[in-house]
């Protein structure tokens, strides 16, 4: 008893901590349930990766059959043997027919474009993931680090609400005075029916060879969409609000995973380099500059290689930046400086090593960490540039429905 009296008299440093903790937890929970956080960063992931993959598919168009199609040296039988052991998901092993391949390849280009524009984002992100996984798992050995990153991000993107800003969806929501129950317009329903019918038909005819896990995932996603329609039809604000909260939570979890994935990428890339003698003595950069496969501009590579101080600085700088990256997230200013360095480095790699798509994918994932203000500033600059161009085109063509477009935000 006496001890208790004693403690009661002195004021404890923990006084009121319980309340403070409660408030902190409350604020945190309120934050993650009430909004899909980092909408601009999510949009950057969407735009960055759909742009990268779309451009990649267009670039490879002349070689598409050799890389993923019927004349692929990694033949249908070889791919079947490998997938038989690792159970990777690909619709391209459902049939070796040229027509099916062309349909998928061009379908993925269209899905990439529509995801980029944010047209029915939720549906397009599913089609995009199916497309990315199908192509990459058809030719597993073809991909480099950039492809791996696109593969991962396509799966994570599916769980985010990445069409909140900078999308046609956002524009449509803004234009309608009273927003319809989310996604309950005719096109959404048509897409949903088409997707369901297509999947059902493919399964019923035995065309689709889907492991049960993927059956559950695809039909699960389809049912989730049905749930949104149902909530919209019932005009039940409670169910809609609940769906919104759950979607926010899933989005926030997925954004956390995306950020952590990028940190894991840099951390492993950096920590493994530290163990290498070439990175220790500062000569590592010299070697890729002499790898024929990664020096399309031999003169440029030699010019860089001839400056030994530059080689050492870049070699050490790369390791420092990669190892430090996850820790710099603790300090906003340091993080932004490092991001600028990393983005510059990736842009340089694009040219010197001839890896434009790898670099684009890396830059897209770097941009997840850009501050919202910078992203909004960039967005408004791009919108202004676009408005100038459209205005110039309009002037050429004469007056059109101008004020409709002025309300567009990008």
């Amino acid at each position: 008893m006496s001890v208790e009296k004693e403690t009661a008299r002195t004021s404890s440093p923990f006084t009121g901590m319980g309340t403070k903790l409660d408030v902190a937890i409350a604020k945190g929970l309120n934050k993650i349930t009430s909004a899909a956080l980092a909408p601009y960063q999510a949009a950057v992931v969407r735009i960055g990766f759909s742009l990268t993959f779309g451009l990649y598919l267009l670039r490879e168009w002349p070689y598409r059959l050799d890389l993923y199609g019927t004349t692929n040296p990694w033949g249908f039988d070889l791919a079947q043997r490998l997938t038989g052991s690792n159970h990777a998901f690909t619709v391209l092993l459902w049939s070796n027919h040229r027509l099916w391949f062309e349909l998928v390849y061009h379908g993925v280009i269209v899905a990439s474009l529509l995801l980029l524009l944010g047209w029915h984002t939720r549906t397009m992100s599913i089609l995009f993931m199916v497309g990315v996984l199908s192509l990459m798992n058809r030719s597993i050995l073809l991909g480099d680090g950039g492809d791996t990153l696109i593969h991962l991000m396509a799966s994570y993107l599916l769980l985010t609400r990445c069409g909140q800003v900078w999308s046609l969806d956002a524009r449509r929501r803004e234009r309608t005075a009273t927003p319809r129950p989310d996604g309950c317009d005719r096109v959404s329903v048509a897409l949903w029916i088409l997707a369901g019918a297509g999947l059902a038909l493919a399964q019923a005819t035995g065309f689709a060879k889907l492991p049960w896990g993927w059956v559950a995932i695809l039909w699960g996603l389809w049912s989730v969409q049905a749930l949104w329609f149902w909530a919209g039809r019932r005009r039940s604000p409670e169910v809609r609000a609940l769906l919104d909260v759950v979607a926010n939570l899933v989005h926030n979890a997925a954004m956390l995973v995306i950020a952590a994935q990028v940190c894991l990428l840099y951390a492993t890339a950096g920590w493994y380099k530290i163990q290498g003698a070439r990175w220790q003595d500062g000569s590592a950069l010299h070697f890729p500059l002499h790898l024929h496969y990664f020096s399309p501009w031999a003169g440029l590579s030699q010019a860089l290689d001839s400056r030994s101080i530059m080689v050492t600085l870049i070699t050490y700088g790369t390791v420092i930046a990669q190892v430090a990256f996850p820790f710099t997230l603790l300090n906003r200013r340091v993080k932004n400086v490092l991001l600028a360095i990393l983005i510059t480095e990736h842009a340089t790699i694009a040219v010197i090593c001839g890896l434009p798509f790898f670099s684009l994918a890396m830059i897209a994932s770097d941009m997840v960490f850009l501050p919202t203000n910078a992203l909004r500033w960039g967005g408004s600059r791009m919108a202004a540039a676009r408005d100038r161009i459209t205005a110039r085109l309009r002037r050429g063509k004469g007056p059109g429905s101008r004020d409709e477009d002025r309300r567009v935000t990008i």
Binding site: L29, S34, G75, L133, G143, H151, D281, H286, W297
Partner: protein
Amino acid sequence: MEPHEASDATGSDGAGDGQAPGKPAAVRALPPAPNGSWPLPSRIVIVATIGVLTIGVTLHLLLVFLFVAPLNAISKEYNGLIKGYVYPEFDQNWQLFAPNPLQSNIDVHARAEVAFPDGSRRTTGWLSLTEQDLREIRHNPVPSHAHQNLLRQAWDFYSRTHDVKGRAIGARGELSEDFVRRIAAHRLGPRIDGGQVVKVQIYALYTPIIPPKWSSDRGSTEKTSQVLPWWPVSKKEFP
């Protein structure tokens, strides 16, 4: 701590927390955070979602971390679980040029044995498949995976799945042989000078990259090569 209680404590001030003013209507239009007025089933769903997501995210990141980290006591213990989860869709390798960058140029060559209608057989000269790739890569701002990755990674796959004596390691090793053989067959073509290609042979030349003058580690300057046995090819191995 449950979310509905939580929201009671902060009231309505949390809804706009951390959001810049002037965010688009689409974001603003989202409903307020759940509070005490929410029906019980909704609260249960929200709490359950938070629970499932917390466990899911933690497990995902933990397993991916153990997968990319060097082999350790934990990853040895849970090897099956980790690989079972990560393969095939979360497979990743970020050891880009690490621990050391590749320190030699690899030139893969192929030649063919051609059977002619008169019954004679001739062997062609070596064709550098790598040089074919490099011709397409040089001065190309956007090299294709067809030239930059296809052969290069196929050969890497072959090397990884064969032991020092050139024996295939498991089913992957056999797959890699079929793959490399098919690439050679595709590049050489089914017919040469009116004869039918019946066998192919692969030969890889490793040319070390000389380290910079100022590096104390001189490395090796010796060129090495690896010659594979003749492989018969059938019609199905041509496009």
